[in-house]
Every structure is written in C-alpha cells, then in structure tokens.
C-alpha cells in the first residue's frame, strides 16, 4: 500500500505516491526527477543528499517520502533565482570550490542552512557547519573560502 503525499518542493505543489519504506532521496530522484541530491552512502554519513526540510538541514536518505505531507522542501534545484545564481553558487564556481562536483549540491545546501542561522561565521564555525558533508577532491580549503566570500557578499 503506497503513501499518498502532498508537499511543497522549491515552492511548487507536488503530489506523489511512494512505498512506505521509500526514502525521500529515492522519491526525489526516482519519482520527482530531481537528481541534484546524490546518494553517496545512504546512511547519513556523507551529506551528498542534503536538503532543507521546513527550514532544517537534513540528509534526505534518512527521511521517508511518506513523512513529507504538508512539509516544505528546498533542494539544490531551487537555489538559484531563475537564471541568477545564488551568491554561494557563484562563489563556488569563481573560487574553484568544486572538482568532481558530486558533493557540491550537498555542500551548497549545508552552507545555505549555515548562513541563514549565522550570516557572519568564523572559519571554525564554517568548518563545523559543513562537517556533515564529505568532499574527497578539494581538501575543503576552497570550499571554506567560497563560503566566506559568499557570506561577505550576502551581508552587503
């Protein structure tokens, strides 16, 4: 018996049916067609599937699709304002804060959640704010710098 769910994703009303044991990540990727969230582990260790659920950063692999009724979800696909990239996205490109890019959507979600709570984080606060996301390419240096640059721009 599938769960019938009405939810909001990136501002759009979305309706879907999913199996009771199906993760939000699988729903996004396999039913809604939003493949920006990635499965790196499926156990909440890598953060590649990070999304913002009712304002809270979560690993979508650890949330059930069936829990989504009446909730508001933000994914990487909704981060840019149309053709205008979010400052975090722009600084990731400008600062070469990605190499392979598989972890990038998760990092951007986590950085977005961090800057909403703390618009002026120290380097240490950024490092701990992003500690739930694994990157194997960059050594994090350019990611931290991109978040610092975006935060500065967003503060104006």
């Amino acid at each position: 018996m599938g769960a019938h769910v009405n939810t909001t994703i990136n501002g759009d009303a979305v309706e879907f049916v999913c199996a009771p044991d199906e993760s939000l990540l699988d729903v996004l990727r396999n039913r809604i067609g939003l493949t920006g969230a990635k499965e790196g582990c499926g156990t909440g260790d890598c953060g590649a599937c990070s999304v913002i659920l009712d304002g809270r950063l979560v690993c979508s692999c650890l949330v059930l699709g069936a829990e989504m009724n009446g909730k508001k979800l933000e994914t990487i696909e909704g981060m840019a304002d149309g053709a205008k990239l979010h400052p975090l996205q722009q600084h990731f490109i400008d600062g070469a804060a990605l190499q392979c890019g598989i972890c990038t959507p998760g990092f951007l979600m986590a950085a977005q959640a961090l800057l909403r709570k703390n618009p002026d984080p120290t380097e240490e606060e950024i490092r701990y704010g992003l500690a739930g996301n694994l990157c194997r390419c960059t050594g994090y240096d350019k990611i931290v710098r991109a978040v610092q640059a975006a935060a500065k721009e967003m503060r104006g």
């Binding site: 722009q90 392979c100 490092r127 694994l134 050594g139 994090y140």
Partner: protein
C-alpha cells in the same frame, strides 16, 4: 601532420588565467548528470549477490526460486559469462573479479546478479538465491600470505622474477629489483646505518559517488552504456571483449564522474549490467551501495616495508636498500614493483637497490589509488632519512638538499632525468615562512618529499569551427576535475579567440578513436597537447581558406590573434579575415573547418613535491590535529592555477586521512568490519586547516606549454610528512600507518617502558 611536441617559450594570453569552468553552472545547480542520474524507458534495477566468505569453493548456486519471483526478469551467474579470453589470464582475472567462477576469493566477491522491475523485487530475489559454499582457510595479511604455510589462493601462480621459476604454486606472484651500484661497498663507506621496518594499512580512494551504470543491449547486438568511469574507451574495449560484443557496437558514454582517484579505472559491475540487459532484453541500471564500494572495489595495497640507509657524517648517502611487500588483493598485480621504482627516485644515490615482492591475499582486487604504491614507500624512506639526519646531527632538509636528484641524475628506476623540480621544491620549502614559524606546545613539524612518474598515452581531440565562428572541442580522455577548462584555454590560446568562444565536451566511444583512461596524471598533460595540435591543424585549414578567398599562396597567409593576415607590403589592402569571417564563408571555400589530433603523448615529465606539516598530538588521547600544512610542487606550467592548487590540496587531504585515520579493518573471519563512511572515517572539513600551496614552474621540455601532470604527486609525501611531524611532537618514531589514537598511545606507552 606530425606536430612538434617540444616546448616553445612564449608569452601566454589566456593560459594561466583563472577562468570559470564550463561545467560549473551545471554542477552548482544540480543539473550535471552523474552515473546514477540517467534513466532509460523500461529500465530494470539490478543488484548483486556477494560472498560473505573470504575464500570458499562455490559448490552450487540455486536460482530456481528467485527466477520464479514475480518481477524478476533475469538472473546471471558465472555460467552466463563464458570465458572468451582465449588464454589471456589478465582478462580472465578481470572477468573473475566481476563474477566469481569456481571459488570466491574475498568477502564481497560477486556470485550472482539479478535484474528486476524494482529494487524491492531485486532485493527479495537475492534472498531467494541459495549458494552452497565450502569454506577454505584464508589469508588477509601480506606478510602472512608470503609464508610457505599460508593457504594458497590460486593454483596457477608461480612467482615471476625468480630464477629458476618455482614449480610450486604460491601467493607470491612477482619479484622485481631496481637500482644500481654496489650496496656492500656503499654501506662499508657509511658512518651511520639506519635500518627500520614499516607497515601501512589498506585504504580506499573514497570517491563520494558509488559506481553506477545504465546498460542497454539490443537483440541485434548493438549496445549502449552510460557509466561513471575514468576511461570509457577502456571500459568499452574490456566489456566488449569479455561479452563477445563488437567494440564498434558498444557505445559507451562517460557520465560526469563523482571522483575516481584510480578506483574507476577498472570495470567491476559493468559486464554484469550488460549481460543482464542482454538476457532480459531491457535496459538495466546497476548502482553499487556504499558498502559494496568498500567491500569490492578500489582499495590500495596494505604494505610491509624494510629500509636500510647508510650515510657519511657530512650527509652523503652512500647506500640505500629497501624491500617492499605489497598485495594486489585477490588477483596478481605489480604494486610492490611500482613502489620499488619510486623508492629512491627523489635522490641521487651512488649505490641503491629496491626489491619488491608482490602477493595475493583474500581481499578485494586492489586498484590504482593516486600515485599508486608511492605514498607507502615514501613513508618508509622519508622516515628513515629523517632518522639518518637526526643520527648525524644534520637538518633533515639540508640532508635532502645534499642528496637530491638533479638534471642528469640516473634515477634508481633507470631513466636519466631531464630538468626536474626536486631541488627547487626543497629549496622553496627551506625558504618558506612555514618552516620558520614558531611551534606550539606538543606540536611537531615534519617535512618530506615525493615523486611520481606521470604518464602520457593515447588521446584524441576533434576541434570544429561552427558556422557562427565559435569553436567546439571534443576529447575522449575523461575530465575528472576541471580539464575541460584547460582544453578550452589551450584552444583559445592557439586560435587567438576568447576562452568563452570555445566549448569542450567529453565525447562518447563512437565519436572518437581510442583514448587511454585518465590515470597517471595524464588528463590535462595529454589532452591539452592534443588540443594544441588540433587547433594548429585547424589554423592550417583556416590559412588555406583565407588564401583561397584572397587567391594568394597559402604561404603568404599568417594566423595572428584570431585572424588571417596577408603577408607582405603589396597585400596591405587585404583586410584581415577573422575566424568568424572564415567560418561564415566556409561553405564556399571547401566546407566545414576542423582540426583533429590523434597522438601518443610521450615524455610526460616526472613530478616532485615537498610538503611541510605541523601536527599537534594530545598525549592523553592520542588524537592528532594538523595545525598547518604546506604543499610545494612543480607543475611544469599551471594552465589553470586554481585547479592545480585544488589538486595539491585534495591530494594532501587524502594523504592526511591515510596518515591519521583511514584503514580497512578485517576480522579474523576475513570479513571487512568497517564498510561505511561512519567507520571508515575520511577527513571532514573540521579536521583540516587551510592547505597552503606554492606552485613552481619548471617547464616540461616535451609539452608545447611545458605542462607536467600534477594530480598524483600531492598524495605521495603526506604519510611521511605527517608521521615525521607526529614523531617530532611525541618524541616517538611512528612505524605504522594510520596513526590512529590507539596506535599513537601504544607507541608513546611502549617508548616509556
């Protein structure tokens, strides 16, 4: 047309600038499509059944119940993958690794695979497959595997490199020797001799994207595969050969790749997906779980290494010897030999030798991991060098500078070096502010230098000028982290057009000739060379078209800053023809304008780096914190400095993880106990400091711009640099990597006793 590979010293217009990468927007918006992001109409989901035993005979596989489950469309075992290798043992090993045949050889070895209408059905089917195993004794440690008492894994392995060749099968698959001079004489000259043994544990490349492919085989034998890989041409060739497909009918498209570091140079599940698709006559998607990635793909060798170095009081190293024992997992490889070749490569030593012993063990088949085998040998050598320095009372960096290889040095593995950067990186380290910065309490500083060969290989590039005068470039060597930007820079530099006027893609296997995979730090080195040549060939065409337009000899046309210009005073009235003009008129002057290049890029140019590390050790808990880290490396020429820095920083971070935390933990039952990122802990953002970089540019004489590969060398020195820093912080020499807190506490405790 043969083009000159040699360096031309010139002033660059766009090379060396920090442009935005062409795939950047797709990757920050979630649009970029990786291995698991593609789907096909009617696709099935495939899962693999894997052995729980490290070593066992497969007596029987019963798939009858699973086959009857509603929604199961195909099940394969090794019976569906007949041996078509024609006696090629290496190819048979690849096939046997993809699917066990008579025996399972490691925990996680595939024994059957299922394609079903969804994952739930496929999972249920796996549970219905009954495998009858006869469990055999196993061995997972390299030193144990080399003992005569060890269980023998393969009955066809008789040690290569030993005369006479043994007649008894063993796990010792290869011995090799490198070096020169007279060791006995060298050690006799020494005032000090240091002899030590070291161990390193097995680590995984740890790419964040699990392996994934989407395979579709039609009844007429035509097939397509979408896959995350470092080399789609190699995947094409191997899958076609193993499955009896014509290579021209298997079109492989490389997805964006979510990290590889050597782990995506081998085929693993791809032949299974193709065989399932052929059997089910439907597209099949096969994505590994993280647990599968750890249990059955990737890892590098665990090692055991002995080093002996003799030196005079003035710091001259008179003799050096190393014995290196590495394993290839369950299949024979030559990783110890690679380690032996790198052992003394940084130094100019009159008498040196390395002896390698390669073994097989009941662990997953090891794959290349970024400068494969070099970090381990570097760890052993550099620690011993550090001890020699302490024993003779010399600054370790001065000892290294004194013995550093230089242009003209005969390397320990054979070739005579051209211009190289080891001396320059050491000198830069010596002068670096990091070297002089004060150290906090319980903090030690270590430095180490490392080497990697680099590789060139086969590459194809097609450059096409579109009718509006913009340029497309197709390359077959996979972009694993930004090389598309470098190729666009190369094409723009040559053609004299803006970077933004060039768009680079990675083309599929039906669009270009064979390309080697992106390994050996060859991606940017070889494909930028091919891009330069393709652009120069296009310029020849452009000059011909201008000559035709003007009705003058082509020899009187030159290409300057993106335009054809007629040479000579008498032709001053001919207005230059731009790329746009020529593209627009192409239909009337001979058709589309293009340049092609198919090359073997030789002389990749060896690479050296020196790292400096500050490590704080909490002596109560054994926890190590890296407080400062500096990478200095020769790039030849940094085409895009940001991505060169990124390679330096990323390699250092991987090496720091290897040095401090990462390790495969096997139980006495031969099963991997930490096949998850929670228990196999790679560095996270809060574990690391900023990683400072210094790019040196000692041009490679055999690349038009002087480029050397940069990707692999950065992982070579960290194990050594971090361990020497820990040694200096604790006063205890660390002989075993990773230096996890329990291992550090144990070392401190033993030293006190």
């Amino acid at each position: 047309m043969p083009l000159d590979q040699d360096l031309e010293i010139k002033k660059f217009k766009v090379i060396g600038t920090r442009v935005r990468r062409p795939d950047g927007v797709d990757k920050v918006t979630g649009r970029a499509r990786y291995g698991a992001d593609a789907s096909a109409p009617g696709q099935l989901v495939a899962l693999v059944l894997r052995s729980p035993h490290p070593h066992a005979i497969i007596k029987k596989i019963d798939i009858s119940k699973a086959e009857k489950l509603l929604g199961v469309k195909a099940i394969i075992t090794s019976a569906d993958l007949p041996d078509l290798t024609g006696g090629d043992r290496g190819m048979l090993d690849i096939l046997e690794n993809c699917m066990a045949r008579k025996k399972v050889l490691y925990d996680g070895h595939a024994v059957a695979a299922v394609a079903a209408i969804d994952a739930t059905t496929a999972r249920a089917a796996l549970k219905l497959i009954k495998v009858d195993y006869q469990v055999l004794p196993h061995v997972t440690d390299v030193d144990e595997a080399l003992k005569p008492t060890s269980p023998v894994i393969h009955d066809h392995i008789f040690t290569d490199g030993i005369e006479p060749k043994p007649t008894k099968a063993s796990n010792f698959n290869k011995q090799a020797e490198y070096g020169h001079g007279d060791l006995d004489a060298g050690f006799a000259e020494a005032d000090v001799i240091i002899e030590k043994s070291y161990k390193t544990e097995q680590t995984h490349q740890g790419y964040i994207e699990p392996h994934s492919c989407l395979a579709s085989v039609s009844p007429d034998g035509a097939a397509e595969m979408w896959v995350c890989t470092q080399g789609h041409f190699v995947y094409r060739n191997q899958c076609a050969a193993l499955l009896g497909l014509d290579a021209n009918k298997l079109r492989v498209t490389a997805s964006e790749i979510g990290g590889g570091f050597g782990g995506k140079t081998h085929i693993w599940t791809e032949p299974l997906a193709l065989a399932l698709s052929r059997k089910a006559n439907r597209p099949v998607k096969l994505t590994m779980s993280r647990e599968e990635v750890f249990r059955c793909t990737g890892p590098t060798s665990s090692t055991s290494i002995d080093v002996k170095i003799g030196a005079k009081k003035d710091g001259t190293i008179t003799a050096a010897f190393a014995e290196l024992r590495y394993h290839g997992g369950a299949f024979p490889a030559n990783w110890a030999e690679f380690g032996a070749m790198t052992t003394w490569a940084c130094y100019d030593i009159k008498n040196c030798k390395s002896l390698s012993k390669d073994a097989v063990v009941n662990r997953p088949k090891t794959a290349a991991y970024r400068a494969p085998s070099a970090p381990q040998s570097c760890f052993a050598v550099e620690n011993t060098i550090d001890e020699v320095a302490k024993a003779i009372g010399m600054d370790p960096i001065e000892l290294r500078i004194k013995n550093a290889a230089k242009e003209g040095t005969k390397s320990s593995y054979g070739p005579v070096y051209g211009p190289i950067g080891i001396g320059a990186t050491l000198q830069a380290a010596k002068n670096h502010p990091h070297m002089k910065a004060p150290l906090a309490k319980d903090t030690g500083r270590g430095m180490a230098c490392g080497f990697w060969f680099n590789f060139g290989g086969q590459t194809c590039v097609d450059l096409n000028v579109t009718p509006d005068g913009t340029v497309t470039v197709a390359v077959g060597t996979m972009d694993v982290g930004g090389s598309r930007a470098s190729l666009a820079l190369a094409a723009a530099e040559e053609l004299g057009v803006p970077y933004e006027a060039v768009r680079v893609i990675v083309a599929d296997t039906s669009s270009l000739g064979h390309n080697d995979m992106t390994d050996g730090s060859r991606g940017t080195f070889s494909s930028s060379m091919a891009a330069v040549f393709a652009a120069r060939n296009a310029i020849t065409v452009l000059r011909e078209r201008a000559a035709k337009t003007w009705e003058i000899p082509v020899g009187d046309v030159e290409w300057v800053d993106g335009e054809a210009k007629a040479k000579g005073a008498s032709r001053g009235n001919l207005a230059p023809l731009t790329l746009k003009d020529l593209a627009k008129g192409a239909g009337g002057t001979g058709g589309p304008i293009a340049g092609h290049s198919e090359i073997v890029a030789d002389n990749a140019g060896v690479s050296f780096g020196t790292h400096i590390c500050d490590a704080h050790v909490d002596k109560e808990t054994g926890k190590t914190t890296i407080t400062r880290y500096t990478v200095i490396q020769d790039a030849g020429k940094a085409m895009h400095p940001s991505y060169v820095e990124g390679q330096y920083q990323g390699g250092a971070a991987q090496g720091i993880g290897w040095a401090l935390n990462e390790e495969y933990v096997y139980g006495t039952n031969g099963r991997l106990q930490n096949a998850a990122f929670l228990d196999y802990r790679i560095p996270v953002c809060s574990d690391l400091p900023m990683i400072d970089t210094q790019i040196l540019e000692i041009p490679n004489p055999h690349h038009p711009y002087g480029v050397r590969g940069v990707g692999e060398t950065p992982i070579v020195p960290p194990l050594a640099a971090v361990s020497i820093a820990v040694t200096n912080a604790t006063g205890v020499r660390m002989h075993h990597i990773p230096m996890s807190p329990p291992r550090i506490l144990k070392a401190i405790k033993s030293a006190r006793m």
